[in-house]
Symmetry: D2
Subunit: 337 residues, 4 copies
């Protein structure tokens, strides 16, 4: 941590801040320049709140040097975290393809979709039983009935299932049925939810918040990790910007960046990330090319009848082509250059 003192600060104020830091167990190195005095503060980060420090009289600003996340960082754990799901692995170097409809709308429909994505090459099955909808007047999901349909689809296809949980109360119910529990973008900073998910023995797929920095996202992961659950999977799904042609701006540079900062697996959701069906395939390929551990794609047997997110859903034939291209790219990118 570096503390920058205000211009014209008195020696007394400098000493007070220094004394305050030393009393907290830090060691302090002073550098007095012509215009500013700065302090190098050495010690364990987390012992002191930089915001509090920034309020001390005479302090102009506090510059953190160390990253605030610990358990999520590569410094803490060098090797990639590999997460077993059913008899598969996420984060072991191969590309995991998760596919399925946005919402579960009915039994027949979903089982048909499950079969279709399996045949088309999906590794896992997604579907929403609880839907976070901007409007209270939109379809909110089938709830437990939806979870039962998902479990039936797993039995039918053998594909592990992924679904979103939206509140603490439903966690145990959801955990009973599914293989991976998803936290949606709107709940990325719902800390009570995150802490509860830290006590569950299921992998958590943590989507990036619409306006979350990568640091805040990793701090959200830290809530889960720190509460006892080491199985966190990150999923980039686009951030909010001024561009309106796409629903969100898919930040693919987050993928290689996260690969440096953290040991956790990183997926990409190009369906929500773009909001446009015709961009899903090229952005899936781009995600794989820059190192994503997998993709999560919306597929619906009849998008025109989907109760939500129709414009970004692929029909099974298009998804099958996408899956073939992804596998092709995956194989080839492993060849020696």
């Amino acid at each position: 941590m570096v503390v920058v003192m205000q211009k014209g600060v008195s020696q007394e104020q400098i000493k007070k801040v220094q004394a305050h830091l030393e009393a907290e167990g830090f060691s302090v190195h002073l550098s007095q320049g012509v215009n500013r005095t700065i302090m190098g503060v050495i010690g364990e980060p987390g012992q002191i709140d930089p915001q509090m420090l920034a309020s001390l009289p005479g302090v102009e600003k506090v510059v953190p040097i160390m990253q605030p996340f610990k358990l999520a960082s590569r410094d803490f754990k060098h090797h990639n975290t590999v997460i077993p799901v059913g008899d598969q692995l996420i984060g072991d170097g191969h590309v995991c393809i998760i596919a399925g409809p946005c919402a579960i709308e009915g039994r027949e429909n979903f089982l048909q979709a499950a079969q279709a994505v399996k045949e088309a090459g999906a590794d896992m099955l997604r579907g929403g039983a609880f839907k976070p909808r901007t409007s209270p007047y939109s379809f909110q999901g089938l709830g437990e009935q939806g979870l039962k349909i998902m479990a039936e689809a797993r039995d039918l296809t053998g594909l592990p299932i992924v679904t979103e949980v939206m509140d603490q109360k439903s966690i145990s119910m959801v955990a009973e049925y599914v293989d991976i529990i998803q936290v949606g973008a709107r709940n990325m900073q719902n800390y009570f939810l995150l802490r509860e998910l830290g006590k569950v023995d299921k992998p958590i797929l943590l989507k990036r918040g619409m306006a979350a920095t990568i640091e805040e996202w990793l701090m959200a992961a830290e809530y889960i990790l720190g509460s006892g659950n080491p199985q966190v999977i990150l999923c980039e799904r686009g951030i909010r910007t001024f561009e309106t042609y796409t629903r969100n701006t898919l930040d693919l540079s987050a993928v290689p960046l996260l690969k440096q900062l953290t040991h956790l697996p990183v997926l990409v959701d190009p369906s929500h990330g773009t909001g446009k069906r015709e961009l899903v395939e090229p952005m899936s390929l781009a995600a794989v090319a820059c190192g994503a551990d997998g993709i999560m794609v919306e597929v619906h047997p009849d998008p025109a009848k989907a109760w939500s997110d129709g414009p970004q859903s692929l029909v099974p034939e298009d998804f099958a082509r996408l899956a073939r291209k992804v596998r092709h790219l995956e194989r080839l990118s492993k060849l020696e250059y």
Copy 2:
């Protein structure tokens, strides 16, 4: 709603979309131009999901005409909603000043702060018993103990109290102690929480999400209103932009805009909105000048010792000056021009 068909769409596809809409009870007016066919779709919005419509073969885009919020809109209710809190009113044309420390750190401290803000001119008292913190290693609040201290401060000062709730489970506990329940920016789209708050008989202060459009914010209010609680107060607290000198960008234009769109009262939080102590006073005055129903300001007897948000907290003397200026501006802006 306007449906724009793709270029070169067949007459058959146009008829199918038209038939689909008419089957749903809408009436459709066709306009066939040289380049595009558009359909004016007339009927009750909410009957059909625009996203689903956009997925029909041949449809290029769907342009909503009506605002998606209903209960929150001026169209639905012309007169301003005035919300009684204790023996005071919010939204009746006067400026409500809510002040207090960000977090409750201890009994002595908080009672002292409560007394100080009362003397300095506050109408209501704020304080955090549950704190949404980016880092799991930061102070998370005193919980119920904090609520008890707040209640004691109310008894002592007579000021109504405002605090944040972060999860469904704590709602009934929080509702027992406080006068206004706050929903923080990070939970603005926590729909399970919003729906539960719709069943509570307390005013809800709904902060704008960091990346929430004004429309999404009003839709969040709609969740509470639609679940049965008409007492919603909106609070602008800054949105996330690229600017880094300020913690957020306070969007004051939201105030007069909301005054047109909705009948709900609108407050402004210049402390979180800017993150800088020295900007709190000028932005409070600006908020009042553009029509806010009140302001919510962080005040701490000793900001340098605050456990959170120190750099944006005012000392009581500065707050007293701010309150005097706000009252002055309020009085004068009521004089005839």
Copy 3:
């Protein structure tokens, strides 16, 4: 400047970076922590490029401590810059009201508008002879003919005139006719233009770029100041965010922030800043309440016939009311509290 070295860097690399800095005339203070070594670098900023430094082997990041702007900073010049325009002053503590149509569309029209804004209380007259239009198919302005009409309007009304220049070649022509030369948001980082304007003996009104940080804006001012022209007026006109109800997000917190950082006068343009006629009056009042030195407002005798920016133009009667309210607020805010 603080240089943070990478984790696990060798002593040799540390010494090389230190030697490099000392060779450039800096003195270096080393702080070696458990996890990182940091260097406090003392010397005149500007001597070395932080980007270059960040590329040296072993360097993790470089944190600038000093602000990069000099001539524009309060540190450099404590007293407010007051700029004479005709027999008026900008930046002397009173509120300057600049008003007029977005574009000059014809002689009759403009003279009529000029007379109207004068009667309604404007101090200066604005109008566009060269228009930066997103579309090449939109009206691009009358050019020199427009400048002549402006000059005639000045003779008629006595109001100083402000217009935008868009390219170097037109500078001398524009400077001949007008009292203040405006640089539009799209040209805020057109450095060749800025440098040329540094050689002109006219005040320059520098609008903030749509995606410009406050620091970049002050650096743009620095280009003009550093080329010899000390008469720079800043004008906040809204930044680009995800919100779509307003055309831009007017960042009023920039006003009190700039008042701390720089000695230059600061105006606000609520017309372009919001893009909505009905927000212009409340945001003008807010701008004055938070300390702006003036406002710049679009007024058109018949907005429905305006060739550009109609929806944000006021009719003269509305502007007259706005001007009365601004004067009222200005007078009252000078009374003792």
Copy 4:
């Protein structure tokens, strides 16, 4: 175009707006709903300014249906534009690799860099003779001397050369020396510059502005195309968002989107787009995977000594690996699936 009338508008106002439109040569289809009247307006877009229309009394909003760009659109020209540069082509389906230092710092240095990037697999050579720098105190480029060095490098290596032009006055000089003229992000809406470049017989590489929507970017291309130069190459280089780990947010979804909207070739600059050396390779591969016609990469023999943009420059060995991987990906993505 669709015109939405305000709620409660009178029949007379509706007739006036309709008459206005018909007088301008449009045909109008009225749809009168319970809450709103909307008008489908049919005719050639561009004949009327939507902003002007939106100002007519009784009009609530105007929704454009057609894209505002014409010459740049796929509707106007179905086949891809292929641009010859020397004996090479851009936009013909192969991946063009442009590489070189950010700024030209000296003759020896640049010739060495040119030789290195050629050997490593570059197709074309980039370098800056005029540098748009945020700070007036940073190195601004060698000017014509730099152009001469570039021309010498072309003679030496046979690689076509690309450089940025920043003002109208230098266009003819730059055009004399280089093969492709670049317009930087800061000048994307410098319309005088764009119009002049429309008169030049050289390909123009048009970078996306930092806060430019895709539509605004295509409108900027339209300025060049409309002034007579059909050789425009688009280059995505990242947009400005709230994320600070990367210098910009590279919007790769713009690539497949542009491929739909326009016939112009699309390149990607992952160096400026991320600002981080270690992200350049993965994002280059992602760009190729989603369909870019080429990449533009900063390479410097000794980034630690670069006068600008060191942290994002690759050393030649790293660039050579990147180029091999890009070629590998390019070859393979052409195999049948």
